[in-house]
């Protein structure tokens, strides 16, 4: 195998690990933001609801790469300002952190919509039963609404994850050495850009296929008793 890709296969696979790392960490952030956004839109006061709706609208209206470059270059200026003020000196904004924050922020909005739909799909009677037993609203959410909503959220969650994985390719544009970035380096060095971009395309399809298996397993697990 090493022969075929001129010894660059380990570098591509190392990049793939970076891609997966960025994807998983942004997923974590997006899940957190998604829960917060969905809760704000469903249970929050006027202010929280408006804030969450504005967040969702902005994310839907502005391209991901524009947000990413804004956070990457703008974040650097902010850090420089703070560094001057507090005397930290110069700190480089890590493209990995900028990428994870942007992607997490973007998909937080989509996860929020998914969770909102899923929570609204939970059987009202079950929630009322929880209240009737004297559970606090928080207890009802943790023990009844949340577990029941996961089942409804899986298809949307999986869809978001697939788009998220593809979006990670953009971190190569702000200089993070993910598999797309490494494919460019290897392809340019060996003058075989086609070979390496196609290879990376296949690796993305591989991640998708593995995710697909994982989703089937999750669906089976959460559809027990149906």
């Amino acid at each position: 195998m090493n022969e075929i890709f001129g010894g660059y296969l380990p570098m591509i696979l190392k990049g793939m690990m970076v891609t997966i790392e960025v994807a998983l960490l942004s997923l974590l952030l997006s899940l957190f933001l998604g829960i917060v956004t969905a809760s704000a839109r469903l249970y929050g006061g006027t202010f929280a609801r408006t804030l969450a709706a504005t967040y969702t609208t902005i994310i839907r209206g502005v391209p991901d790469l524009v947000l990413m470059t804004l956070i990457f270059f703008g974040g650097q200026i902010l850090v420089n300002h703070l560094g001057d003020k507090f005397g930290w000196g110069y700190i480089d904004v890590d493209p990995m952190i900028a990428g994870i924050i942007t992607i997490g922020f973007i998909f937080g909005a989509y996860m929020g919509e998914t969770f909102r739909g899923a929570i609204m799909a939970v059987n009202k009677g079950q929630i009322e039963a929880g209240h009737a037993y004297g559970m606090t609203p928080l207890q009802v959410f943790i023990h009844i609404t949340f577990p029941a909503m996961i089942r409804h959220a899986i298809p949307g969650f999986f869809n978001n994850w697939l788009v998220l994985v593809k979006t990670t390719a953009l971190v190569s544009v702000i200089g993070l050495q993910d598999m797309v970035f490494n494919a460019k380096v290897a392809g340019d060095t060996l003058r075989q850009p086609f070979t390496f971009y196609v290879l990376v395309g296949f690796l993305f399809l591989l991640i998708t296929a593995v995710s697909d298996l994982a989703m089937r397993w999750l669906e089976r697990k959460y559809n027990v008793g149906r």
Binding site: P63, D64, L65, L67, A169, G187, F194, V198
Partner: protein
């Protein structure tokens, strides 16, 4: 923040806006017309007809558009026969590569939307068409497609917004679209907030316009489905 930079550079941003809209409209129009025969093939019961299209859709929906753009713009230069063929006039230009990549991408997504809608056509409508003695071609032309395309309008609206956002990749391969213009302003003045927030606002306004147009279209074309 100093937004006078943006005022001074408005002509550049509007030129970028022009290219963004141009790329968007050209790839959407060609992609739309490609997607209809593709969707009909993908909805076919014959595997030799549907399988190749399904593979095409799977590959283009399963890989990042950035990779597709890179394969066409940077990747194809690997082949000497292509560089020496007359086609090279097209493939050496970022503009055409962007249009080809965007078109193939939106054709795949749109074909998948239309395929779903075609398969959901009520059986009764098709049986009625058969009972009237319509040929397969007439069924598609008069019954299946008009109904399936109408039902696809909401999903297709999302695809149009997705494509608008996807056109930023033109700015990655050296073109000066809206995002490319913002990048130039940022590098000239080191003003990321001013440049990218302004570009973001432009995109936001176009998105709202597209949403509005599709709301009107839904009202007009989906009147018969209103409750």
């Amino acid at each position: 923040m100093d937004f006078s930079i943006i005022i001074d550079n408005l002509p550049l941003l509007f030129k970028g806006l022009g290219l963004t809209l141009q790329l968007l409209i050209i790839s959407l129009v060609i992609g739309f017309f490609l997607s209809i025969p593709l969707a009909i093939m993908a909805a076919s019961k014959k595997p030799w007809m549907s399988l190749p299209v399904k593979i095409y859709i799977y590959i283009f929906r399963g890989t990042p558009l950035l990779i597709q753009v890179f394969i066409i713009y940077y990747g194809f230069s690997q082949f000497e026969w292509l560089r020496e063929s007359p086609l090279w006039v097209i493939f050496k230009q970022a503009y055409w590569c962007a249009i080809i990549a965007f078109t193939l991408n939106t054709a795949a997504y749109t074909a998948e939307i239309f395929r779903g809608a075609i398969l959901q056509t009520p059986k009764g409508e098709i049986e009625a068409a058969q009972a009237c003695g319509m040929s397969r071609f007439d069924q598609y032309r008069h019954i299946i497609l008009p109904s399936a395309l109408r039902r696809s309008i909401p999903m297709y609206g999302n695809e149009v917004i997705f494509m608008l956002h996807a056109t930023v990749l033109a700015g990655v391969i050296t073109l000066v679209d809206l995002f490319g213009a913002a990048k130039i302003i940022n590098s000239r003045y080191y003003a990321p907030f001013e440049s990218f927030i302004s570009a973001g606002l432009f995109y936001l306004v176009i998105t709202f316009t597209i949403v509005f147009i599709f709301k009107l279209a839904e009202k007009h074309f989906l009147k018969h489905l209103e409750q």
